[in-house]
């Protein structure tokens, strides 16, 4: 095949029409639901899903739910509001701070952070978890680092020991699981379906919480690379402020891009490498088209392959042993 920088792009009109037809068929005839509930964060993925649902079902058959908590950026709520108003979709604000606090989310997380950095004070410090960026390192294992930012701006970072890593992630996952609970409350109260917002990068590399943001009745963009999500967002008229925003996790108190948390490189590069690899394009050809070293292409392919393989359990339904 002729692999180019544009190979990743879709026929936006045709793909949108196909998705709308498939979504309507799934919700009406397979799920037998009367509309769609979408959790909106002000990010690009939930925005395109909301736009798609409004186009598919009509805005009056869609309900958007914003679910910030105390670590969320105020910008998330503002952008989500702009989005809902643009597509004339009714929306509800559900602050989940008290709910996750009730689970002990913040206390459990902060206890683990303090074991690594005793000076950490959640009232004045900010924290985040990052994957160390090392694009050139062949065969680098994916391990997480904890970063804290002091009130005076001093940054400290340390590789996370096992127990603290597990506790911080487990505690933080209360947020995504609480949001899914809330989405299903509204969906069941209206006999609507919950529409998932995860893209291909998240779905296949396991960048989601099982039974958290991974929980939905249908996942209409789980096959789309982030680059393709941006393409469809423009086609569907998602506001520019959302399209220009850097994707964040909006999970930890310190600002954190998805790139530093998990993906380690820009989507426009990673997606094209991954797309080429899936299409069987040799790594030297991908490298030439992207104008980057072949070794870097191979590092990315290896990283994607490793993440797909090690997160398989996240995509599996509970095993039946009968």
């Amino acid at each position: 095949m002729n692999f180019t920088m544009d190979s990743i792009y879709l026929d936006a009109f045709a793909e949108t029409a196909r998705l709308a037809a498939a979504l309507k068929d799934t919700v009406a005839f397979k799920l037998k639901k009367r509309g769609a509930v979408v959790g909106v964060s002000g990010g690009i993925d939930s925005s395109i899903v909301l736009a798609l649902c409004a186009k598919t079902f009509g805005p009056e058959k869609v309900l958007a739910i914003m679910m910030p908590e105390r670590d969320s950026s105020p910008e998330s709520k503002e952008l989500a509001t702009v989005l809902c108003e643009k597509f004339k979709v009714p929306y509800i604000l559900e602050d989940i701070t008290d709910a996750v606090n009730g689970f002990g989310c913040y206390a459990r997380r902060d206890e683990a952070v303090k074991r690594v950095f005793p000076e950490y004070d959640p009232k004045t410090y900010k924290m985040k978890i990052v994957l160390k960026d090392d694009k050139e390192a062949k065969g680098k294992l994916n391990l997480f680092y904890l970063t804290i930012i002091a009130p005076d701006g001093t940054v400290k970072s340390q590789r996370l020991p096992l127990a603290e890593y597990l506790q911080i992630v487990a505690a933080s996952n209360f947020k995504q699981r609480s949001r899914t609970n809330m989405l299903y409350y509204h969906a069941e109260a209206k006999n609507y379906a919950v529409i998932g917002t995860g893209n291909k990068n998240e779905h296949e590399q396991g960048f989601f919480v099982k039974y958290g943001d991974g929980g939905a009745d249908v996942k209409p963009i789980a096959h789309l690379f982030k680059t393709q999500v941006y393409q469809l967002a423009e086609f569907l008229g998602v506001p520019e402020d959302i399209r220009k925003r850097t994707p964040t996790t909006d999970t930890y108190s310190a600002e954190q891009t998805q790139e530093e948390f998990f993906y380690k490189m820009p989507f426009e590069v990673m997606d094209r490498i991954w797309d080429g690899w899936e299409k069987g394009v040799p790594s030297d050809v991908i490298a030439k088209v992207l104008n980057i070293p072949q070794a870097q292409v191979e590092v990315v392919i290896n990283d994607v392959r490793q993440k797909i393989q090690t997160t398989e359990y996240l995509r599996q339904e509970p095993f039946s042993l009968g």
């Binding site: 160390k132 390192a137 062949k138 065969g139 680098k140 294992l141 994916n142 391990l143 590789r159 996370l160 020991p161 096992l162 890593y165 597990l166 490793q306 393989q309 090690t310 398989e312």
Partner: protein, 89 residues
């Protein structure tokens, strides 16, 4: 006098006990631990913690590469090399 340790035997026992619920038939010295999914990213953390605690070594960020943890043979080679470096310092 330095004592020679068979690291891979100790690590193998840990992997069989901790990751395989005692099923030792699933692993030999050259089983590709990462490729076969016996050790995932959390498993690497567990393994590193075990190595650091049991052999009183510190695994640096630079040493956390697949080459050093790909099999029991690789782990043995890596730890012997670390041991030699420590002994010569």
């Amino acid at each position: 006098m330095s004592v020679s340790i068979n690291y891979s035997e100790v690590v193998k026992e840990f992997i069989i006990d901790n990751f395989l619920f005692g099923d030792g038939a699933k692993i030999t010295n050259d089983t590709p631990l990462l490729e076969k999914g016996i050790i995932d990213s959390t498993g690497v953390l567990e393994l590193v913690a075990f190595i650091e605690d049991n052999f009183k070594v510190t695994v640096t960020d630079e040493e956390l590469v697949q080459e050093n943890f790909s099999s029991l043979i690789a782990i043995e080679k890596f730890l012997q090399s670390k041991n030699n470096k420590t002994a010569s310092n």
